[in-house]
Symmetry: C2
Subunit: 245 residues, 2 copies
DNA sequence: CGCCATACGTGGGCGAGCGTACATACCGTG
DNA sequence: CACGGTATGTACGCTCGCCCACGTATGGCG
């Protein structure tokens, strides 16, 4: 599926000028992202940042009573560990691998130093952070106003955007944990989607059959996040003009 | 109440080294924050950042159907307009003055230039952004898991922390808009709090009578945000040691 | 090929919050 | 000091999602 492992599988790294990527490359360490692995614990020290090449990482807040809620998801469009360059060093949330894959990681000292140089990497990381903020914002709005089925559609689409195929390996129980709802609620909503031919659900394997219909069914939150990402990472107008010429 | 208008009323500006504040001072323009004023519209260009000296600004997401949800609040501990230095230039949310006050504002070009210098201001702004992210995260969690009364307590405490007295001018309708719930729900919850002597509610004027009881009633979300702010803006360990000596 | 742990499906009762509708109380204004 | 607009209190039926308790089936393993 993937020709060779290269940092360019991650969109942030791929967007770096060649010179910056070359400076970083010797320090980028490939690591696996096994399903279920906890990358950061809530409040725990973060000693590396991770640039996923494949797979999905969920940022979860775990409450005192043990129940959880997903705050955002990160795939190869982004990075896990923004607290390191934001200055806090840690966050009150947990990062868990939701879909297995691999990542390139960089140690804390290195990312801080590179960020402090103030070049293209800093610019990219800050923009990515803003995109992440939009995702968190929409999660809050969606939790308040939208029904479970719409949230499920949003979750499926966000996951699909970060995976190479239209299949995902995920039980309804795990989806329920992410969304912070009951498993039965997911069963019902997924049942409706399946009955209408949008997805095919078979014992922990979901296959999205009709993405267009899914996009019609989802709430506005998905589109807002998607468009904001596109806007923030669109090539600069100057560059567009240059290419057009 | 306030001796004289000085940028130091804003905690971020007050935390700057004297030299940096002096460089900024000539460009800081005092502006009023009248109740209800819209500082930024969703998706609209942001041409200044605002450092509140007093009052409260709410960050709201407004949905297609017109209903809204508060994402975070900003008082004199923070700043409005992070998208300017984060690079996006705008956000898909609206900033509205929830409690009248005043602010110091800085034009877009200046804040970008100062941020790019990479000094104490950059460090402070990034940490503040992380604190804001925590607030947004907890809003999402709270929306998902906690009942209206707890959310009301959280909202009251967050507001109280940003005001000089224990009184706030706010109708139940406006609180309902912020929380994204019905006015009647707020009436009921506030009625219970009033019956138990935690607050005194009189036609758009709330007086918090027993803050300690309010803190017992609130969900964990408030404490998480509060502690994370304290942690992010605590004096550096080296400084603490120096002061202790 | 049969077992059984795991994943999925279903149902009843319940509480929170919504939509709607209307009653009451306050307070500034003329 | 009467008036009217605004703010607050109350009520009822409804829906969504929760808690709880089962029933069913799939697919990997021995």
């Amino acid at each position: 599926m993937q020709a060779r492992r290269t940092p360019k599988q991650n969109h942030l790294l791929a967007a770096l000028p060649a010179a910056e990527l070359m400076r970083l490359a010797p320090h980028l360490e490939p690591v696996p992202l096994p399903l279920g692995a906890v990358i950061y614990e809530s409040g725990g020290a973060q000693d590396h940042v991770y640039f996923p090449a494949s797979g999905i990482v969920s940022l979860l807040y775990v409450m005192n009573d043990g129940s959880a809620a997903e705050i955002a998801v990160v795939g190869n469009e982004g990075m896990v560990g923004i607290a390191l360059f934001m200055g806090g060093g840690t966050t009150p949330s947990r990062a868990v691998v939701q879909s297995a894959g691999s990542a390139w990681r960089l140690d804390a000292a290195r990312i801080k130093a590179e960020f402090a140089r103030g070049g293209a990497l800093q610019r990219l990381l800050l923009r990515y952070t803003q995109a992440l903020i939009t995702q968190m914002t929409q999660t809050a709005v969606c939790n308040r106003h939208h029904v479970l089925e719409q949230q499920l559609c949003r979750w499926l689409l966000l996951s699909l955007d970060r995976l190479p195929s239209n299949r995902l390996v995920m039980t309804q129980q795990l989806i329920a944990n992410m969304l912070g709802v009951r498993r039965e609620g997911v069963t019902e909503a997924a049942g409706r989607l399946q009955a209408e031919g949008l997805i095919d659900y078979r014992r922990g394997r979901i296959c999205v059959l009709d993405r267009a219909k899914l996009e019609k069914r989802v709430c506005e939150c998905y589109g807002v996040v998607r468009r904001e990402c596109d806007r923030l990472f669109a090539p600069a107008p100057a560059l567009v003009a240059a290419l057009a010429a």
